[in-house]
């Protein structure tokens, strides 16, 4: 039986890591992720969770510990944010190349400099190429659901890859809201015991992570590319299985009011909810506006995105990060998706909510007005930063 309770997203995620019976948690506290590992360390100290909590001196070490414990066959969780994720950088590639199914919560926060503890997506965007499955939650419920699902997918032997569950720092991590908390039995029924593809075992020694000489490196990269791309099938299958078990259906790409829309705005993460309210208000005035909500970031769901946009002629893309000197990361991917398509929308690029800048409903109105102007035949504006003080 599920229980409806008020919980901070951070605490909700920590609680379900407990329901998933994680064997090892290794983490270093960093704002705004701290509540997750604080709560997990309490659960372990209080004996509620029979796990090893490995405190470390840095995120580099946290991810290195995770690498070792998953390799030994332990269900392993960590969480981080911003500079902490950046400090893990080199190990993130190794964990995925070794096909080690770590589950990590990323409480998205901007990167320094200037120093900022507030929310945007620049931390995860700097880790685009780490070879992990990367998914985004829009609210606390999704954060906890996708954490449960993350273990199931990561440990699926067809996949055996690490999963990063992204949820917006502060906006979600520090907000108490109602969630449906599943019970231990249903989580355990959904999540089989972890059976690793290969296991580090002193009695049957093997080597993991040897040097990739030029004779093998290219093939290893091709294999990684293939397994992450092909994880799409198991992703959809396990999301369906999650829906059967818990009644909440998630898709790689979701839409809102898109069926008859003349213009669409693409969002990723928690601002998708505010965007829905903004759409509701404009729909009441008769504006045919809809949303595309990108949930799965890696593997990138090209076909789902093409289907979601359909024949809608104008697509706005909201980025929560910038790529100085180049196009913003989500817009870049979206444009690449459509470049070779016969039917492709005009793409309008918006950068929104950097470093904790609030995105009020009026900002959405401004973006919708821009999209409708393009729909009426106006020129496609240059990429715009929304909410800029000038």
């Amino acid at each position: 039986m599920e229980k409806r309770i008020g919980l901070e997203a951070s605490i909700a995620v920590a609680e379900v890591v407990g329901l998933c019976d994680a064997d090892v948690i290794s983490a270093y506290p960093i704002t705004p992720q701290t509540h997750i590992v604080e709560h997990l360390s309490e659960m372990v100290a209080d004996g509620e969770l029979q796990a090893a909590f490995v405190p470390v001196e840095s995120e580099h070490s946290a991810m290195s510990v995770c690498c070792g414990t998953v390799a030994a066959g332990a269900r392993t969780f960590t969480a981080t944010s911003s500079q902490g994720l950046a400090l893990m950088h080199e190990i993130l590639f190794i964990v995925s190349a070794l096909r080690l199914p770590v589950v990590m919560a990323v409480a998205n926060r901007s990167l320094s400099g200037p120093i900022s503890i507030w929310n945007d997506h620049s931390d995860v965007m700097a880790e685009r190429d780490i070879g992990w499955v990367q998914i985004f939650a829009e609210n606390a419920q999704e954060a906890l659901d996708l954490t449960i699902w993350g273990f199931r997918l990561a440990e699926d032997q067809r996949v055996s890859l690490p999963v990063a569950v992204n949820f917006d720092g502060f906006i979600l991590t520090h907000t108490i809201e109602p969630v449906l908390m599943p019970d231990r039995e249903s989580v355990q029924a959904f999540l089989p015991a972890f059976e690793p593809l290969m296991r580090l075992d002193v009695d049957q020694p093997i080597t993991m992570g040897p040097v990739g000489i030029p004779d093998i490196y290219t093939e290893a990269k091709k294999a990684h590319q293939e397994v992450l791309t092909q994880s799409y099938g198991p992703i959809v299958e396990t999301l369906d299985a999650f829906a059967k078990s818990f009644g909440r259906q998630y898709l790689p790409v979701e839409t809102y009011c898109a069926d008859d829309a003349e213009v669409l705005l693409l969002t990723m993460g928690a601002l998708g909810e505010t965007a829905m309210t903004a759409v509701d208000q404009r729909r009441e005035k008769g504006d045919k506006i809809g949303l595309v909500r990108l949930r799965l970031w890696r593997p990138f769901p090209f076909d789902d995105l093409i289907r979601a946009v359909g024949k809608v002629p104008v697509l706005g893309v909201m980025d929560r990060a910038i790529s100085p000197g180049g196009p913003s990361p989500v817009a870049s991917e979206v444009k690449a998706t459509f470049y070779q398509q016969e039917q492709r929308p005009k793409v309008v690029e918006f950068t929104v909510g950097l470093g904790g800048r609030d995105t009020p409903l009026s900002d959405f109105d401004g973006m919708f007005d821009t999209l409708l102007a393009v729909h009426r035949g106006g020129e496609i504006p240059k990429p715009t930063i929304i909410g800029l003080r000038e």
């Binding site: 409806r4 906006i171 108490i176 809201e177 109602p178 904790g356 995105t359 009020p360």
Partner: protein, 185 residues
């Protein structure tokens, strides 16, 4: 939808107040959010916290710029902060003060509906410490009917405060009866 802003000083429990309000609303089956002003906090410095309460699902992740209810935990903040900033028409300001509401209105130019309670006095007598967050929740429920059920808020207090819950609940219920309300100008 009720949109609530709490003003306090770091350590006075403004964030806890917002959380208790949300928990009580959620226990009633409503939707609610409680969130702090995002960022670092320091004991003694002015802080704000927020809550939303609605009968419908809340799909809004913006800061609360136009609250319908403002709750001020610390009387000294009136001199530092314009506490009725952005208040919605028809909104209410609930103040911790022992002064006459009309005098407050005159001194600080607050035109809105005003509820006052001497929460410092109540908290000192009932709790033994001038921590006014639970007392001010009592005043808020007296000032704004139908936002949350008193009984569910008391249960939320009980769960949060353990062995000191009884004293907080006494302060809370006493504030409900001692709150004075003057309508908007």
């Amino acid at each position: 939808m009720h949109e609530v802003r709490f003003h306090g000083r770091g350590g006075q429990g403004a964030v806890t107040s917002a959380e208790l309000l949300a928990h009580a609303a959620i226990a009633e089956g409503k939707s609610a959010q409680a969130f702090p002003s995002f960022g670092p906090e320091r004991r003694g410095a002015p802080v704000i916290a927020f809550a939303r309460v609605s009968d419908q699902a809340i799909r809004n992740r913006t800061a609360i710029q136009k609250p319908s209810l403002v709750i001020v935990l610390d009387p000294s903040l009136l001199r530092l902060v314009k506490v009725d900033q952005g208040l919605q028409p028809g909104g209410t300001v609930v103040l911790n003060t022992g002064r006459d509401p009309d005098a407050i209105r005159k001194d600080f130019g607050i035109q809105a509906r005003l509820a006052t309670v001497d929460a410092n006095h109540i908290a000192r007598e009932e709790i033994g410490r001038v921590i006014t967050n639970t007392t001010m929740l009592g005043a808020a429920t007296a000032a704004v009917a139908g936002m949350v059920q008193t009984q569910l808020l008391i249960e939320a207090l009980d769960e949060r405060f353990g062995r000191i819950a009884a004293r907080n609940i006494k302060a809370f219920t006493r504030a409900q009866t001692e709150t004075r309300i003057v309508e908007a100008v």
